[in-house]
Subunit: 448 residues, 2 copies
Amino acid sequence: MKRFKLFLQKLTPFQLIAAYYIIAVSVSVALLSLPVAHQPGVDWSFMDGLFTAVSAVSVTGLSVVNISDTLTVPGIFILMFVLQFGGIGVMTLGTFVWLIVGKRIGLRERRLIMADQNQYALSGIVNLMKQILLLVLIIEFSGGMILGTYFLKYYPTWQEAFLHGFFNSVSATTNGGFDITGASMIPYSHDYFIQFVIILLITLGAIGFPVLIEVKTFLFSKKGKYRFTLFTKLTTVTYSLLVIGGTIMIALLEFQFFFQDKSWHETFFYSLFQSTATRSGGLATMDVSLFSEATLLILCALMFIGASPSSVGGGIRTTTFALNLLALYHFAKGNKTIKIFKRELHEDDVKKSLVVTLMAFVLCFTSVFILTITERFTFIEILFEVCSAFGTTGLSMGITPDLSIIGKCIIMGLMFIGRIGIVTFIYIIGSKEVKPNYHYPKERVIIG
Amino acid sequence: MKRFKLFLQKLTPFQLIAAYYIIAVSVSVALLSLPVAHQPGVDWSFMDGLFTAVSAVSVTGLSVVNISDTLTVPGIFILMFVLQFGGIGVMTLGTFVWLIVGKRIGLRERRLIMADQNQYALSGIVNLMKQILLLVLIIEFSGGMILGTYFLKYYPTWQEAFLHGFFNSVSATTNGGFDITGASMIPYSHDYFIQFVIILLITLGAIGFPVLIEVKTFLFSKKGKYRFTLFTKLTTVTYSLLVIGGTIMIALLEFQFFFQDKSWHETFFYSLFQSTATRSGGLATMDVSLFSEATLLILCALMFIGASPSSVGGGIRTTTFALNLLALYHFAKGNKTIKIFKRELHEDDVKKSLVVTLMAFVLCFTSVFILTITERFTFIEILFEVCSAFGTTGLSMGITPDLSIIGKCIIMGLMFIGRIGIVTFIYIIGSKEVKPNYHYPKERVIIG
Ligand SMILES: [K+]
Ligand SMILES: [K+]
């Protein structure tokens, strides 16, 4: 035990986070493998359990089984619990547990949380975690009540209505992307009220916790002169532009195809819902494999970009994408500094965003490459699955259950990395070193 | 005329380079459209001429026509001339012309050449250009003589043998990638001597002019204590690793497929030749569309990386690729500086390499996206064509002649950008600005 503690203390915060996630997955595998969780006659393999657990802890939603045909009501509650666990983040929950058991939170623990949520300031972090948890629970409860009440018109008993209501609320808010209808949100593809609520819940989960906290602070500040941080401005604008841009692109690209026989409001809601889903929601009101290849490519790009940092989503994150574009633009302009919203970006952040994107490309390319060897699917199906896993989105063209063992392992790895984020991933694989303090003469080389 | 001169002077060096290339293409279109260049009965459209000209000036080698069925012997000579023009670079030739007509080369012209060859030192640039031209001509002449003599055993007349010898020598050295056999190097797929010579010529062209000059200087330096520049070391090592790595990957991936019924030496030469071809040579000893999808993906990646800077090749360039990998590695290690070959890399070069790669990704993704809308080919065929054009490689799965007008325009654009390089391209599209000299407070944001 002492040895184990010593081992833990030797780990960097980033490695500890990975360790926590792995423990969370292990516990989830165990819980999901309880006999009470499965319907009679279901053949539940270890791989099914592991994949479902990784997918749920990373709130991705890719699934090798049909949840409604496999899990019992207790099983569905376990899944909701795991989604909650993954969505709010192992760290937030860990902090909360520590608070409950009365342990004082030391600097080391605070640093750990800081790394998980990628925050730069240590102060108030415990308070922040409490606020996050409270906020998420309030959002989920409100969503569950609204959807549950509304679902009374869909389902015969109030138990069923509220089970669907709360499961959908949790699955949307945590961006879990799982469904218990057996066909995602397709049964509600013409119910715009449900879609509106789901879109709202997905957005609240994926816009980033700091944004929610800042909006709350803004609303409760008396003078109304609260200044939003650069991060909040940047991520909210990028997030909105991605959703709007995605909606327009889908509508335009499918105008003559999938939307040919659809009305304007069907076109609008199908486009908006699927665009929102790529931020990391993962629920869908249609079979996305019906889209044309060009649309699927756009969805791949959107999923690769993913959600806001410090949110329930994955991908390279909105700020990374924004900084990439800003870096390109200002490089072309020959500007040394990047100014945005009357603030200057830090050079290190810009470089970090470029390295993160490069790493993500390398990762996704390698995954696609291996899957083209191990799987028999088309290139776009594989690319779509890879981007969906890395973005912890959970949309699929339907190949997930038929992946080979190697294929499933790769997709699990991508969901894990997508959830913890590329920065954490890079630090995990590379953070054992002694920095040498000497210099060589600088020499320039020719680039591009 | 005076107005035109004034207009020229207002252009930045980067824009001037683009202008020169455009003029080169225009002249080539005109030359290739001369009636004497075509065989009787050939239907030569403007688009055919434009595509062939862009492909030849950018020494890519993608072709919408079968050269041996279309061009006459004079036409082939015109094509060789255009390849020469594109390969050695409009700037090198321009310098040479200026020297011949006795014009003194001013600072402005020197700057221009500097930008084209991406050099940092102005001094000796004219001398360098003369050396390059001389070197290339010597290489091509030697190659032509060797191949021509050897081809006497393939072709009935010495005229034919030396036409093939010299065309192949020019096409290989300039990495032009065009063929007059009608089937690239497939007729010589079992002649290892020809392949060896062609590989040597391709490498001499694609390894980078500065490397050749440095090797020459090294060989002629008496003390033998010549120190190679960081650039030469970096690009040569990367180039070699890419060729060796590519050869191994192709051999392993096709071991059970294309190479199943082949001997070890066939496997080795097929792998080595096609690997070398992806650096930017573009000639092939087999139909690459026979490769499996995984191999084609690796070829795409290799073509995307491309050849050395200041060479006849395209892509993001070897040094960019090397700096990308170094940046990833040292970022993971948490190192502030990147040391390699007992030298330190300049921070700006590292950032530039990341921006260049990002821009290249955006460019290729956008191209693939548009082509999935306009064309009816498979995804891998489109991706392969795009990477081949951007890398000015010229390998193709055979879709080039059947591209739509929009498709051809996009491929031409990629060949042009691939040849002038992403750095020049970025500066061309973004270099009109007044740098404001004020600062905002710096603020950090959360990345990835
Ligand atoms: K999801
Ligand atoms: K070529």
